[in-house]
Amino acid sequence: MPQPTPFTILLIGLAASLIGSVVSVRWTIRVSALAAFAILVILAGSAPRIAADVALFAPLWSMPSLGMAGGLRLDGLALVLALLIAGIGLLVFVYAGSYLHGDPKLRRLVVTLTIFMTAMLGSVMADDVIVLFVFWEMTSLASFFLIATNHENANARRCAQQALLVTGGGGLALLAGLLLIAIAAGTTSISGIIAAKAAVLAHPAALPAMLLVIVGCFTKSAQVPFHFWLPNAMVAPTPVSTYLHSATMVKLGVYLLARLNPVYQDEYVWQHTLTWFGLATAATAALLALRETDLKRVLAYTTVTALGTLVMLIGIAPEQSAVAAITFLVVHAFYKAALFMIAGIVDHETGTRDLGRLGGLARLMPVTAVAATLAALSMAGLPPFVGFVAKELILEAKLDAGPLSAGLIVLGFIANAATVAIAGVLSLRLFFGESRPTPETPHDPPWRMTIGPVVLAGLGLAFGAAPGVLGQFLVEPAASAVLGRPAAVSLKLWHGFTPVLLLSLVTMGIGILLFAQWERLAPRLKGQGLIDRLCPSRLYDSGMHAIVRAAERTTRLIQHGRLRDYLRTLFVVTGAGVMITLLARDGLALPAFDAPAIDWRAVAFLGIMVGAIAAAMAKSLLRAVMAMGLVGFASAAVFLFFAAPDLALTQFAVETLTIVILAVALSRLPHQRADDRDRRQALTDGVIALLVGSAATALLLAVLASPLDPRLGDWFGSASVPAAHGRNVVNVILVDFRALDTLGEITVLAIAAFAIVALLRSTRPEANR
C-alpha cells in the first residue's frame, strides 16, 4: 500500500530550506531545527512498522515519461541512515547557532545545511537510480558550498574545489554504472534491480557497471586512493565537518554499496575489491592519523579509517559482517560527531586546534571533558560502551571470513590499535594531561554547544547498556536489507571468554602502548617526507595543473582574437565540408527545369543579387550594412511571394532590428577606415567566397533535384487542427509538436544574450567604470 511518509519527510526539509532563507537568522535556525525534529519524530514513529519488515513506499515520485520507475522507499537500511541524518542534523543546527553566533554567513550556512539534509534524506530513501543520483549530486554541491564557507580564503576555495572534483568525477562514474545496471535490469527502480539480480549479473557489461559504481562510492566515502579530499575538507566550519564529513555524507558511498550488496554479494570481484580496498584505507588512514597534530585532521583520518572498515565489512561475505557494518555505522556516527563537536568547542574556546599546544583542559571545561571521555571510550571500544559491541562484532566477522581471516586480522590490527591510541590522545591527553598555555583561557561553552556531544556520548553509553533495542529496531531490519534476506540479530554486550575477547585485549594493549609513545611517534612520522610524496593528492595537483596548461594552449590556438580569421575558418570549413561531401558521395545533380517563363517574382531575386554585389563593393561598413539589409529584405520578399508569410514576417522584423542595431553600433566606431586588406588577403577572401558560394549553389541544386518527401508536411498539415487546435501549421510545430526543439533554441538565445552582456561589460572603457 502506498505510504506518503517518505514524501512528507522531503517536503518538510524543502519547506524548511525555503522558509529559512527568508526569515531572520534566529528563526532560520529554529525552523531548521524544528524540521529536523519533526522528521525525527516521524521516523521514530515508523520504526516499529519497519522493524516488522514493512517498507514504506511512496510511488508519488514515479514519472515513467522521464524514465523514473521507482518512488521513495523507507526500509530498514534507509531508516538507520535517515535517523542519523535527522538526529545529528538537529544537534548540529543547535550547535551551529552558537558556534557561529553573530557571523554574517550563519544564515547561508544553516540554509545550505538544511538543503543538504533534505538531499541526504532523498538519497537514502530513493528507490530509483536516477532520483538517487540527483540527490547524491546535490549533496556533493552542498558540500562544495559548505567547505568554501570562508570563500575569501584561497585554501578554502582550493579544498572545496578538490572535494567537488573528486566526488563529482566519481559521480560521473557512478551515473554511468547505474545506467548500465538499469539497462541490464530493464528498470531504474532499485528494488526492481535487486529483484532482477540474475539479469544484471548476466549482462555483458556487468563487470564494468559494478566497477563504475564502486569508483563512485569510493570517491564519496574517501577510500584509498581518493581519501585525500576528506582531511582537506576540514577547512570547513566545524558544524559542517561534524555533519557532512564525519556523520552522514561520507557514509553515502557505504550506503550505496550496502544497498546494492544483495545483487553482488556472491561475486568474487565485489567481495575482494571491497575487502582489500577497505582494509588498505583503514590501515593507511590510521597511520596518517598518527602523524597529524591538528585536532580536526586527526579526526578526519580516523573517519577515513572507519569508512574503510565499513567498506571492508560489506565486502566480507558472512551474515555477521552485515550486522557488524550497520552497528558500527551507527556507533561511529555517535562518537565521531560528538568528538567533532568537542574539537569545535576546544578550537572555539582556546583559539587553537594544535594538539601539541593543548592539554589538561578538564579543570577548565568539565562538561566538555566528560562528554569527550565518554565518546573516546566508545571509540576505543571499551565496555560497557556500544563501541565495544561493534568492535566485538567486527572481530567476529573477520574471524568468520574463512581463508581471508589471517590477512584481515593483521591489517585490521593496525587500524584498531591506532584508533585506541587516538582515542587516548583525544580524551586523556587533551583533558587530563599536563596543562599547557593556550591563546585564550577556555571555559565550558553555552548549553547549545555542549548538548550535542553530551547527548551523543550518552547514547553511546545507553545503547551499550541495552544493545538489544538497537539490534531489534535498527540493526536487524537494516542488515536484512543489506543481505537481501531476513537476518536474525541479537546484540549482546558480554559474549563470555572467547578468542574474540582475547584479540580485543591484545589490540587494546598495543593501542595503549602507541598512546604512551604518541608524543615521540607523531613528530617522527610527520618528518617522513616519503609519506607525503606517496600521497595521491600530488597526482591530483599535477593533473589539475596539466589541465589548466592544456586549456591555455588550446585557447591560444583557437581563440586567437582575430575576427577575420574566425570568419575565414568558419567559411572554409562550411564550404569545403559541403563541397567535399557532395563530390565524394556523388551528390552533384541538376534538377529538371521547366520551360523558363518570365515571372514578376524574379524581381525579388534581382534585389538579392544587387544587394550582394553592392555589399561586396561597398567602401564603408555602414554602406555594406545597408546593402546586406537589401539582401535580407529581398529574401523576405521571396518568402512572401512563395507562400511563407510567417517566415517573411520574421525575416522583415529580424532584418529591421539588425540594421538598427548595427547602425547604432557602428555610428560611433571608427568605421570610416577604408578596406585595409592587401592584394593577397583580398584574393584569398575572394577564393573563399567563391568556394562557399559554389558549395551553397551545388547543394541547393542537388536538393531540388531529389524528389520531395511529402509525408511529414502532410502529417503536420492534417494533424494541426484536430490535435493542436491551430490553423497556423508553422506555429503549431514550433510551440506544440516540436516544442522541445523550440525550448532548446530559446535557451541558445538566452545564452547568447548573456554572453553579449558579459562581453559588453568586460570591454567597457576603464575610465568610465
Binding site: 514519472m63 515513467p64 515519461s65 522521464l66 508569410p645 510567417d646 514576417l649 520574421t650 522584423a653 529580424v654 529591421t656 532590428l657 538598427v660 542595431i661 547604432v664 553600433a665 555610428s667 560611433r668 493542436a724 487546435h725 491551430g726 490553423r727 497556423n728 508553422v730 506555429n731 503549431v732 514550433l734 510551440v735 506544440d736 516544442a739 522541445l740 523550440t742 525550448l743 530559446i746 535557451t747 538565445l749 538566452a750 547568447a752 544574450a753 548573456f754 553579449i756 552582456v757 559588453l760 561589460r761 570591454t763 567597457r764 572603457p765 575610465a767 568610465n768
Partner: protein, 152 residues
C-alpha cells in the same frame, strides 16, 4: 544618439504601437501568421525605437526588469508550460493541455499560449539586452557627454 524634438514627442506612439501589434501577433499566432518569436521581435523594435528617441534609461524603465531577467523569466515560463502534462495526465514533458472555454464560441486555450509567451519574453529580453548594452557601452565611450546611456 539623435534626439530631435520631433522624435522625442512621437516616442510613446513609436513604443506602444509596435508593442500592441506584437501582442496581437502573439495571440493570433496559432491560427494566423505570427507567434511568440515574431511578436517578441516587434515588441523589441518598439523598445529600441523608444531607446533611440529618449535614451536607454527611459527604455529600461519601460521594461521595468533588467533585460537578462526577462530572458530568464521567458525560459522559465516556457519550461514550466510543459510541466502540467507530467502532473495532470502523466504524459511526456511538453505535451500541451487544452481547456475549452465555456463561452459558446470555439476558443480553445492551451498551455501552448504559455509556451509562446515564454518565447516572446526571451526574444524581447535578448534583443533589449544586446541593444541596451551596446547603447550604454557607447555612452561610456562618449564619456557620458550625451547623457543618454546609463550604467547597468
Amino acid at each position: 544618439m539623435i534626439q530631435t524634438l520631433i522624435l522625442r514627442t512621437w516616442a510613446p506612439l513609436l513604443l506602444w504601437m509596435p508593442v500592441l501589434v506584437s501582442l496581437y501577433i502573439l495571440l493570433r499566432g496559432h491560427n494566423e501568421p505570427g507567434g511568440g518569436f515574431i511578436g517578441g521581435l516587434f515588441a523589441s523594435a518598439g523598445l529600441l525605437l523608444y531607446a533611440t528617441a529618449r535614451g536607454v534609461a527611459a527604455s529600461r524603465r519601460v521594461l521595468v526588469l533588467h533585460p537578462t531577467v526577462v530572458v530568464g523569466l521567458g525560459i522559465i515560463v516556457a519550461a514550466v508550460s510543459g510541466l502540467p502534462s507530467l502532473v495532470a495526465s502523466s504524459q511526456p514533458y511538453l505535451t500541451h493541455l487544452w481547456w475549452m472555454t465555456p463561452l459558446g464560441v470555439d476558443l480553445p486555450i492551451g498551455t501552448t499560449l504559455l509556451f509562446d509567451v515564454g518565447v516572446y519574453l526571451t526574444v524581447v529580453g535578448m534583443s533589449c539586452a544586446i541593444f541596451f548594452g551596446l547603447l550604454s557601452w557607447q555612452a561610456d565611450i562618449d564619456g557620458g557627454q550625451s547623457g543618454t546611456g546609463e550604467r547597468s
